[in-house]
């Protein structure tokens, strides 16, 4: 589903190489996790895949179901089925959560030549999905992420994911800023979306998120490369011994 080959990326404004050749394939129905120390390039990978400005791809390729992602605008990638749950969801004053989501859902449908969702159908859908994430009517009416707590922002990300029904979900440190209960709620939301046709790439520092969202494959990223790949046990190893041992081992 998601295929990344030899991806090298530098910052646009300065001569700093961040990704130094990333190879990664996420199959449909699988959950892949990327772990790694600070500054290893995990978040950069998620931003480059979703099309954020400020990065320059110097080599390599990334595709979703065979479609070249790197040539597309961010909105085209989204319509193609790519979703990034932001580490720091952005506040947008004056645009209500509801308007935002309805505009997004219908823009994607339009881009895929599908019929737009009626106001009634949309409302029914969003109410049901919001309820399972404990998002109340007030949060839907408020401007996007404005005045939301850390936990509310992350739940809102998962609500967007549930409404947009993407093929490929990237979760960038979704556990950061969450307490135990919020992590459980968010994880349940993610798990409910796991399906045969959908791939997940979960970026995290810590094993604890992976207790809730069980990965099929775990990658360790360091200094702009994936240095080790294994099963769920790799995450446990990190938890116990830290990154130092693994990095020493592959060095």
């Amino acid at each position: 589903m998601l295929e990344i080959k030899g991806l090298k990326v530098k910052l646009e404004d300065e001569d700093k190489q961040i990704l130094k050749g990333v190879d990664l394939t996420v199959e449909a129905g699988k959950v892949h996790a990327i772990m790694g120390p600070n500054g290893s390039g995990k978040s950069t990978l998620s931003y480059v895949l979703s099309g954020r400005d400020g990065y320059e791809v110097t080599e390599g390729a990334a595709s979703l179901d065979g479609e070249d992602l790197l040539e597309m605008e961010p909105e085209e990638r989204a319509a193609e089925g790519l979703f990034l749950a932001f580490q720091y969801p952005v506040e947008i004053p004056g645009v209500s959560n509801m308007t935002f989501l309805r505009t997004a859902v219908n823009a994607q449908r339009k881009a895929r030549d599908e019929e737009e969702l009626s106001a009634a159908d949309f409302l029914k859908d969003i109410r049901a999905k919001a309820k399972t994430l404990k998002i109340d009517a007030d949060m839907l009416k408020r401007p996007v992420n404005m005045g939301f707590s850390g936990g509310e922002k992350k739940r809102n990300e998962i609500l967007q994911m549930a409404m947009l029904e993407p093929k490929m979900c990237i979760l960038d440190e979704t556990d950061s800023g969450l307490d135990v209960d919020a992590m459980k709620l968010v994880s349940e939301g993610v798990n409910a979306l796991r399906s045969e046709g959908r791939g997940f790439l979960v970026i995290t520092h810590y094993q604890r998120l992976l207790d809730h969202i069980k990965p099929d494959v775990v990658h360790i990223m360091a200094d702009g490369r994936i240095v080790k790949t294994g099963g769920p046990e790799l995450a446990l190893e990190v938890e116990e011994n830290g990154y130092a041992d693994i990095l020493a081992e592959v060095a």
Binding site: E75, P89, G94, L101, A107
Partner: protein
Amino acid sequence: MRLAQLKQEATAAQLEDVALPESGAWLSAAREDALSRVKAMGLPHARDEYWKYTRPDTLTSAEPVEAALFVNDEEPMFHEIDRLKIVFVDGVYDAEASDDFAGEGLTIERLADIGQADIHWAKDLYGTLEIKGQDPVERPLAALNTALATDGVAIHVTGQVSKPVSLIYKHESTTSDAILHHVIKLDAEAKLTVLENGPAAARFNKMIEVDVADKAEFHHIRSQGRDHERRAVTHTFARLGTESVFKSFTVTANGILTRNECVIELTGDDAVAHVAGACVGDGDFHHDDTVFVTHDAVNCESRQVFKKVLRNGATGVFQGKILVQPGAQKTDGYQISQSLLLDDDSQFLAKPELEIYADDVACSHGSTSGAIDEEGLFYLRARGVPKDIATDLMTLAFLAEAVDEIEDEALRTSILARLELWLERRRG
């Protein structure tokens, strides 16, 4: 040659042969007085401090610059609102298109008719607030209006009015030069909403003088014409009594030149005055909001909220002043002007001023100018919203903060829906 003398000589030459409109005794006297004041002041000049950001030459020239008509198939503004319609075509009252001047709680008369009366309430108002508003800053185009206005209405509100009075200005001639002057008097505890809309004329000089008595409430919602080439200078003068309320909102899209002056004096304690505006300028567009609020009583509140979205070289101007007179304690004055610049070619010029002569007041002002938030834009795009729609969503949200100043929900919704439609149409 000194500027004052230069202006006086140029003005005298230009107005030498001007004929005042035929009117009755008291109105003629007011006109003559105004004309002599214009001659003494001289018409605005590019070197005047008050006209530093807006060139007055096309507003003061003997003949107006031609303005092409803007044809579109949109529903007329406020079409969904039940209202009493008074129509002017290129500044001339159109009886056929207007509703009867009958309504509960108010009387409406034409300027042309009341001038003939020996005694009329409007005598105490016509030109009176304008003269008061000439100090401390001269407004010659307002005095010119008092002298030369050819039409307008006098509205006297004695109680609760069942529906808004809607002044509709149609533009049908490419060379029209319209001057309208309305006077509105609200008795104690009376309440009125006035709607204004339309492009009016190739060049439009319009004034409203409104006297809001104790505990009366005046609401004003205006949508200025979308004809790209039209020019307008407008003045709103208001005097507020004790516990009275004045709220004015203006939306402006297009128009090569607009100067809106709003001059408010809070003369009674506990009065409230709000002035707000949202404008969308694209290309050859110059929009100037000039506001002067004088606090001359205790415990009054004033608020100025102006938002401008500018692109393709459009210019926005804001000159806003709060003057707190000695003794006007417990004044709560607020002023904010903000622009959203969608490209590097557009500009926003702001001159916020506070002048305070009382020691127990809370006054604040702010002015910002910025581009669209790139983080927010990326967030919306990452959810599949195309860049142009995302930009419009954020633009509308920015403008909505000014539109929210409108108290009436139906009118607020009407203006917002219109702004959304205009943005959508522009997007194509």
